[in-house]
Amino acid sequence: MKYSDYYAALGVERGASQDEIKKAYRRLAQKFHPDVSKEPEAEARFKEVAEAYQTLKDPEKRAAYDALGQRPQGEEFRPPPDWTRQHSAGGDEHAFDDVDFADLFARFGARGGRGGPFGSAHGGMPGQDFEVPVEISIEDAFRGTTLELQLSMPEYDDAGRLHRVPHAVKARVAPGAVDGQRLRLPGKGGKGFQGGRDGDLYLDISLKPHRLYRATGHDLYVDLPLAPWEAALGASVEVPTLAGTVNLKVPAGTPSGQKLRLSGRGLPRPRGGAGDLFAVAQVVVPSPLSERERELYGALRDATSTNPRRRFAEGA
């Protein structure tokens, strides 16, 4: 495991008072809490800060942490046997063999009546819930997909020892997931201990950016490039949809930015129906112009009465 400098994480001296530790935590938690912060790396920073606080706010855990001595952050590390014997249930010197540093102090009180949050007086400790962000493609949201997740969760064995255990989870996501959709997998979180129920796994779905489509809810938007004459005269053009190409009738006089709706061609809704696909017209000016095109545009200029900046004059 790698050593974590909890005092450095909170930005306090090793001799800091409990009050100083609490103030430092509150200041950093407000700054980095992932539910309120948009700072880059906020979630990782908050995790460090919360892990440090969970240990340092508890005098017993803090004393045990201090007894490990001061080491460089991230140094490969193994608790000394005498420390392990002293702090594990029943003096088991292998109790912390396959845990993360973060799990080391969470384990206190799991067995042996140390009185921590994991006491079993009420007949078991429920397993931990886990929340995992999952990115899927727009195609997967359209067709549905099966997610195969490889997770690592802290888990107690029958003897009360904590281990990091790999969890493979396979979950079928039906068509129709959108950005922000939450899914709950009951009982797929951390294992309960001594009869406690297993925790749940929550998946927070987000959609990967797509080269063509932009999603908002179940509606999709796609840019529809049009030649000036297609926009002016109208045309029938092919538009790619998630279910294949369809023909779209572009009305004469379609301006740039006009949204043309293809009903029911967006993402399916989980309980039936579907969002729409909007093709957003973008008039593309030919460039470079050939000599012939230049002549024809010149003739059009001379023949037309259109003034695209009429509103400027009206506003004067």
Partner: protein, 105 residues
């Protein structure tokens, strides 16, 4: 070897009880009810002391639980924080919608 598992969609079509919401969020029943009565977590139906909710609010309740324990907020601060987060979320959704409409260029 993993076995395909049950997946519950937390959306407006799924209904959960107060007890299920307590279990999923980790909040105490009294705390949840304060948030419900304060209008922060909307109930779908109320019959006397029986409440049902859209499963969508599980996310809000779990956020409330995290904020309460990790930022050590009291119920009043929690209510304010959740209302502000809801406004931020609404604005972010609106920005995302407007960005989707804009051509990529």
């Amino acid at each position: 070897m993993s076995i395909e598992t049950e997946v519950l969609w937390l959306d407006e079509h799924r209904v959960v009880s107060l007890e299920e919401l307590v279990q999923c969020s980790g909040l105490a029943r009294e705390e949840l009810l304060e948030l419900v009565h304060g209008g922060v977590i909307p109930a779908r139906e109320v019959h006397g002391t029986s409440y049902t909710f859209s499963a969508r609010v599980i996310g809000v309740a779990r956020t409330a639980s995290r904020l309460r324990s990790e930022l050590e907020l009291d119920i009043t601060g929690l209510g304010v924080a959740l209302r502000l987060l809801e406004r931020v979320s609404t604005l972010e959704d609106e920005i995302a919608r407007l960005r989707a409409i804009l051509p990529r260029g």
